[in-house]
């Protein structure tokens, strides 16, 4: 059985290719394949009738206990026979009907995919696997409804159906997960055995509601039913197959399937029964108001689906018997009526029942279909539909809960059924033909008449010969739903009882409605017009509401203002971290005595003056000077607290930064503050809160005093194992060399970024060195030029000096590189970049590459030597210049080159690019 599902899926996948090979024969071939599958399933009939359940199982996701498994009992068998039987006929029909359409290969592919998915639903022995196929039917239905994708209505209808059924599928998913949690397994076999456990579980109401939502949306139950009439935009074969025989029955299948597990409780009866009853009534009433033949059939389908759900709710022997028989009867007559509607549409060019009359003479075979199927639909004795309807009424009468309510509703909806059946069976064919039909109808091709005729005849045949199926096929299905064997014997001739009387009442009522159809339609319209818009048509209301909400939300949050983004981020930080901080308020004793007294005070005054001044000053150049002031005071703070390397590096960086700022800000507006007044108070509050948060958290951290767990190790090992006296440098080059490797890469990338930013304009190729205008010779100050000429070698010498002694004394590759870069940068600024480039002799970018290569190479040495990456390897002894030669020195050299290269890439370009 599993093979058959896979085979069907495989067939669907290759269908578009097949169509290219075989063309129109594809449909016929797939039809035959479908019959073949049906024949294959029939082989199980005898065993199933004997009460056997066939199972196959392949482990799929053992982690979740999900199996790809098949479960064939009476219920599954009935369904797979409907799916393959109706499917095969629909394929034959479609092979002719779809001839005028484009992309038929895809059409048949989707249809086959649907059939495969449907088989999967009906055969799955595992609820999770069932969901997978379930959603697959939604997707293929989506593609089929919108198959005529050039028409907006078709696209919209497809979307609506997928959103409703797919969305409810999510509810079903939730329900099924809960079911597996409550039942401890996802396989039918286990679940069926644990029905009582599930029903006793606290999750039971939730499971029931969620499953009902999923099944209800699929089977077009109120209020989800709206997608089904809209789905009539689909080509008629699709309507016949998906929207009457197969897919809409999937919900019924599911309810029937879970009935032994979830059914039988009061909640089940009332909830399921009521939903079904409302749907039945709504469908029946609205069917009367339609003028489009297919939409009328669609509403009558809604009504029948409601009846079926109601029967599932009513349960009991009568309910379930009626459910199965009515389901089969409906599948037969309704799919043939839809195919007939398609044929009429095909021939007459319209589906408007006000125009369609008296077609019987031109289309006798089609008329025969209408008549036969109509009889069954109306529930005339000696048709299978009669058995269904009689059992329905009987079930209503016998219901243990809400009997009269269900019965009355069933009778009323039967009235409407009869009227619709009369339209299909009589009105279309008899009487005077309207003149203004879009096409002149003539006899339909045999391939359009034969499939519906077969379906309709099957209904008639079963009406007179129910023994063909009742005990053999339908009985086991009833048993599977009831959870115990239930005898089923249908009789040909009606038995006189209350149900028959009600049936006759319905027939008479239906005839009356049929004769006053125009008036009924007007009433329906008037009544529908009374409903408020959101109730009459909730789907667009919900969609518009969602769309408006999304728009307002997004306009407000993602408003394009960076200020508001920064603000929200800060507020979030303050709220989250700030609240958390004061929640427990774990501040230790505040250490007031540590640090340097007077000097620090002085510095802090400098800080304060600088930043207050920055707030007030509007001249960009002054701001830069003040920023420099803050940077240099930082350096002093570091120096005062034992951070010599830190201090000198900060000074060097600050010097370069100021240069950079001057070069750039030069080209920015000299006066800033466009929006001084903008929400200043709020800004102040947020900024202060953020500062307060950081200060507070920091205070909480330091209040316990220094706790370093690693510092002593660095101090102890720096000299004996890492051969350096300057512990900070040793950490950078050895203990935490990986940081340094990453850090210089960042710097290198930054320089590449600046290069790219300056060179690459939209449209046009990047400007390269060769095609630049001669650069505008720097600042042209004679004193500066002369100074720089002498400064260059001096600074270079200083830079080498700093580089060489970095391991012992303050210095190191980074600060040395900065000084070296400063030398050339000043030179470039003072004279021009070309001369500076000439003085440097290499493209700075290659220095970046070389520096990185040296750095990573220094690390790889370690790996080659059988040690971890970046392990310091030292030459034995030492040399005259370097106290020790080792790979960390190589890393230092790499840093040095990279810093020069990066800084100069940035500076040269900035100077050069106008």
């Amino acid at each position: 059985m599993l093979v058959s599902i896979l085979l069907a899926i495989g067939l669907a996948v290759v269908t578009p290719g097949l169509y290219r090979l075989l063309g129109r024969a594809t449909g016929v071939l797939l039809g035959l394949a479908s019959f073949g599958l049906g024949g294959y399933y029939l082989r199980y009939a005898d065993g199933v009738a004997a009460g056997e359940i066939y199972r196959e199982s392949v482990s799929w996701v053992p982690l979740f206990g999900v199996e790809f498994s098949a479960w064939m009992d009476g219920l599954s068998l009935v369904f797979v026979l409907i799916i393959t039987g109706v499917g095969g006929l629909v394929f034959l029909y479609a092979s002719r009907y779809m001839q005028e359409y484009d992309l038929q290969g895809r059409f048949f592919g989707y249809l086959m995919l649907f059939e495969a998915a449907m088989l999967g639903v009906a055969l799955s022995g595992d609820v999770i696997a069932l969901i997978v196929f379930w959603e697959l039917t939604s997707i293929s239905s989506f593609l089929l409804i919108g198959f005529d994708n050039d028409r907006p209505a078709a696209r919209r209808a497809a979307l609506q159906s997928l959103i409703i059924t797919g969305g409810a599928g999510l509810a079903l998913l939730a329900g099924v997960i809960l079911l597996t949690l409550a039942g401890g397994s996802s396989s039918w076999g286990e679940l069926l055995a644990r029905g009582q456990t599930v029903r006793d579980s606290a999750l039971y109401p939730a499971i029931l509601v969620l499953v009902l939502i999923g099944a209800g949306a699929k089977s077009a139950q109120w209020p989800f039913h709206v997608w089904l009439p809209a789905a009539m935009e689909a080509p008629s074969p699709v309507s016949a197959y998906l929207h009457s025989a197969a897919m809409v029955k999937a919900g019924i299948y599911l309810l029937a399937r879970v009935h032994p597990v979830l059914g039988g409780t009061d909640l089940w009866a009332w909830l399921v029964g009521t939903v079904g009853m409302i749907t039945m009534a709504v469908g029946a009433w609205r069917a009367l108001g339609q003028t489009d033949l297919k939409r009328m059939l669609a509403y009558s389908t809604v009504s029948v689906l409601g009846a079926l759900v109601m029967l599932a709710g009513v349960g009991g022997e009568y309910g379930i018997r009626a459910l199965i028989v009515y389901l089969v009867a409906h599948a037969l007559y309704k799919s043939s009526l839809f195919l007939m509607a398609g044929t009429v549409d095909h021939e007459a060019g319209t589906r408007d029942i006000r125009l369609l009359r008296g077609l019987g003479r031109e289309m006798p075979l089609t008329a025969a279909v209408g008549l036969l199927a109509g009889l069954s639909m109306a529930g005339i004795p000696l048709t299978f539909g009669f058995s269904g309807k009689e059992l329905l009424l009987e079930a209503g009468l016998q219901a243990s809960r809400g009997s009269w309510l269900f019965t009355v509703a069933a009778v009323l909806s039967s009235v409407s059924m009869v009227a619709v059946a009369a339209v299909c069976g009589l009105r279309l064919w008899w009487g005077e033909r309207a003149q203004e039909l879009p096409h002149t109808p003539h006899r339909a091709p045999l391939r359009l008449d034969l499939p519906p005729l077969i379906l309709a005849s099957a209904g008639a045949l079963l009406g007179v010969w129910p023994a063909l199926v009742d005990a053999r096929l339908l009985g086991p299905a009833v048993g599977a739903v009831a959870g115990a064997a239930v005898p089923l014997e249908l009789h040909v001739w009606p038995i006189v009882n209350l149900a028959l009387a009600l049936s006759a009442v319905a027939l008479a009522g239906g005839a009356a409605v049929y004769f006053f159809l125009e008036r009924a339609r007007r009433w329906e319209h008037a009544a529908h017009g009374l409903l408020p818009g959101w109730l009459a048509d909730w789907y667009p209301t919900v969609m518009h509401g969602l769309s408006d909400a999304a728009y307002v939300h997004t306009r407000w949050l993602q408003n394009g203002r960076l200020r508001s983004y920064v603000m929200i981020c800060c507020i979030a930080t303050v709220l989250l971290a700030g609240y958390t901080l004061i929640r427990k308020a774990e501040f230790g004793p505040i250490p007031l005595e540590m640090g340097v007294g007077a000097n620090l005070w002085a510095l802090i005054i400098v800080f304060t003056v600088c930043w207050v001044a920055i707030l007030l000053v509007r001249q960009v150049l002054s701001i830069v000077v003040l920023l420099g002031g803050i940077g240099f005071s930082m350096a002093l703070v570091f120096l005062l607290h034992g951070g010599i390397d830190l201090g000198i590096t900060q000074v060097a960086v600050e010097a370069l930064s100021v240069l950079l700022f001057v070069l750039v800000l030069y080209q920015l507006p000299q006066q800033v503050d466009v929006r001084v007044r903008l929400g200043r108070l709020g800004d102040v509050a947020v900024a202060l809160a953020m500062g307060g948060l950081i200060a507070g958290a920091l205070l909480a951290v330091v209040s316990q005093g220094p706790v370093s767990a690693v510092a002593p190790y660095y101090l102890d090992k720096a000299y004996p194992e890492a051969h350096g006296l300057n512990v900070v440098t040793v950490i950078l080059l050895d203990f935490r060399a990986l940081d340094t490797l990453g850090e210089i890469t960042v710097l290198g990338v930054a320089s590449l970024g600046v290069f790219a930013l300056l060179r690459l304009e939209p449209r046009g190729r990047p400007r390269m060195q060769g095609d630049l205008p001669l650069s505008q010779g720097g600042l042209r100050s004679r004193i500066l030029v002369t100074t720089c000429l002498y400064l260059l070698p001096l600074l270079l010498l200083l830079s080498l000096f700093l580089l060489l002694r970095g391991h012992e004394q303050p210095g190191g590759g980074f600060v040395a590189g900065l000084v070296g870069a400063m030398a050339f940068a000043l030179y470039a600024v003072a004279r021009d970049a070309r001369q500076a480039r000439a003085a440097l002799r290499v493209v700075p970018r290659y220095l970046v590459g070389t520096g990185l290569l040296l750095a990573v190479g220094s690390g790889i040495f370690g790996v080659v030597a059988g040690q971890p990456f970046l392990t310091g390897l030292w030459a034995p002894g030492g040399s005259a210049i370097l106290a020790h030669a080792g790979t960390p020195v190589l890393l230092d050299l790499g840093v040095y080159l990279l810093v020069i290269g990066s800084a100069l890439t940035i500076f040269f370009d900035l100077v050069e690019m106008p």
Binding site: S59, A550, T554, G560, T573, A577, L698, S708, P868
Partner: protein, 502 residues
């Protein structure tokens, strides 16, 4: 003899770095750069796969950089989660490297595009593999800076506008991250994460530690684009070329998620009731806000950008639920999302290449004219929306299952509804760009050359194949995620691997 971890753990750093350096040397040779970049990315993928298989077989691997014992040096460490992420980085790197050859254009290639791409990958892999908090900051910065450049590379006005927002907010996050890292050192006296995992609970200052946790939540949260910190993402991700968008969409935010998962399973687990409830609320907000944002858009890539946010919510939800199963589902979801989301971006780029626009109102007719692309789009889009039997379904399934097991019904309800709106906005793209007939008359663009088509489609087909594989052969993928989740919930293993390596 070199020990295996010492090589395996540095390869994901060295391979992209050496590739980048080789590309730097080949600066003026475009064709060579293309080839070397693709080879380098393949190398990274292979290195990642070898690492993953090795971690699978031997458990958590660690290597002490510079041969200094933990916690004094920097430890590189790979548990399954890290290794999975490195593999994902490799996959994305390869896809992007190949796709870029067709998509990125000569002028960007001449200004160092491939070099930056590989430095970015280096930063990403470094973030995944480091076992040191400050070192994590360094790799984050490398990744960020490379991404800054990539996002503005080209200098179009929209790129610059997006770029400035991206740069500002990312730098804000970096500041918070560095501040938080500094404070952690001040509070606990160490930076090694395994060591911290041991010391933080001993500090006996849960209030302070949780405050620091919140700072990390903000810092990584901005990078991961959670609600309400995500603004930089929709402002910038739709501005660079599709190859860059795809790489960023797939990889970058996930580095933030990775970091969140790492610190909130390893370091900040003292007040789970408080911290992880906050995370759960944020997860819900992220899903909803992101999906609403997406639904309001009418531009192919802007829809996708907002969906990144929404999907981040699911991953964060896994973290917030805080059980091995939930985190496992989140890890599976990360992989799924990287494939699906990046693929959609790649597809959008191909559409743009063929039709000349990303705007839905001007697109149409792809359904009839591009059957293969249609199938590939459907696979990715439906997977993103969580429909079976594709990868996204199982991600959501796993999350819902884990959530139900803990009785967190509300967040599951939210996540399922968000899934529905996700479907709706994916279908919006479908309805406009694919199903609707091509609107108006447009100048006929020359068809793409065969080679260009191959370069565009190969990564898309590969990713679609992975989506299908993750959906159909769920077990091995989810098992991997499950084991990774179990490892995350047994920090002892991690600490032992780091502190006792060598």
């Amino acid at each position: 003899m070199t020990k295996l971890p010492d090589i395996l753990l540095v390869l994901p750093l060295i391979v992209p770095m050496l590739t980048a350096l080789a590309l730097l040397a080949l600066w003026d040779h475009r064709r060579w750069q293309q080839a070397v970049s693709a080879v380098g990315a393949t190398g990274l993928l292979v290195a990642g796969l070898v690492l993953l298989s090795s971690v699978w077989r031997h458990g958590i691997l660690a290597s002490q950089m510079g041969n200094w014992p933990a916690p004094f040096g920097i430890t590189l460490v790979a548990d399954l989660f890290s290794a999975i992420m490195v593999v994902l980085a490799g996959v994305m790197g390869l896809c992007t490297a190949v796709y870029s050859i067709a998509n990125i254009g000569v002028s960007r290639e001449q200004t160092g595009y491939y070099v930056l791409l590989h430095f970015l990958l280096m930063g990403v892999c470094g973030s995944f593999l480091t076992g040191d908090l400050f070192n994590l900051y360094v790799w984050f910065e490398l990744m960020l800076l490379a991404s800054f450049v990539l996002i503005v590379l080209g200098g179009h006005r929209r790129q610059l506008e997006g770029g400035i927002k991206y740069v500002t907010l990312s730098l804000l996050a970096s500041m918070v991250l560095l501040a938080a890292t500094g404070m952690v050192y001040g509070a606990a006296g160490t930076l090694n994460m395994a060591d911290l995992a041991m010391r933080l609970p001993q500090l006996d200052r849960p209030g302070l530690v949780t405050t620091l946790a919140m700072l990390f939540l903000i810092a990584f949260g901005i990078k991961a684009a959670i609600f309400p910190l995500y603004f930089w993402l929709p402002a910038s991700y739709h501005t660079p070329p599709a190859a860059v968008s795809a790489l960023f969409a797939g990889l970058l935010t996930k580095v933030g998620v990775y970091a969140l998962v790492r610190v909130f399973t390893l370091l900040f687990t003292q007040e789970v009731g408080y911290t992880h409830s906050i995370i759960l609320v944020i997860a819900g907000g992220t899903m909803v806000s992101g999906v609403l944002g997406a639904f309001a858009q009418t531009d192919f890539r802007r829809i996708l950008s907002f969906h990144i946010i929404s999907q981040i919510g699911y991953m964060v939800m896994g973290l917030g639920l805080y059980s091995p199963a939930a985190v496992a589902a989140a890890i599976y979801f990360i992989a799924h999302n990287i494939f699906a989301k990046s693929n959609l971006f790649l597809i959008s780029g191909l559409v743009r290449q063929m039709e000349g626009t990303y705007r839905l109102k001007r697109l149409g007719g792809l359904y009839a004219s591009q059957p293969l692309l249609t199938v590939l789009f459907l696979i990715s889009a439906l997977s993103l929306a969580g429909l079976p039997p594709l990868s996204g379904f199982w991600g959501k399934f796993g999350l819902a299952r884990a959530g139900f097991a803990q009785g967190q019904y509300l967040i599951i309800g939210v996540s399922l509804l968000v899934g529905l709106v996700t479907l709706l906005s994916m279908l919006k793209i479908w309805m406009y760009a694919f199903w609707r007939p091509r609107p108006g008359r447009r100048e006929s663009r020359p068809p793409l050359g065969l080679w260009t088509r191959v370069l565009y489609l190969a990564p898309i087909v590969l990713l679609a194949g992975l989506i299908l594989a993750m959906g159909l052969a769920v077990q091995p993928f989810f098992l991997l995620a499950e084991r990774a989740g179990e490892q995350l919930f047994d920090p002892g293993q991690y600490m032992q691997a780091v502190l006792e390596a060598r």
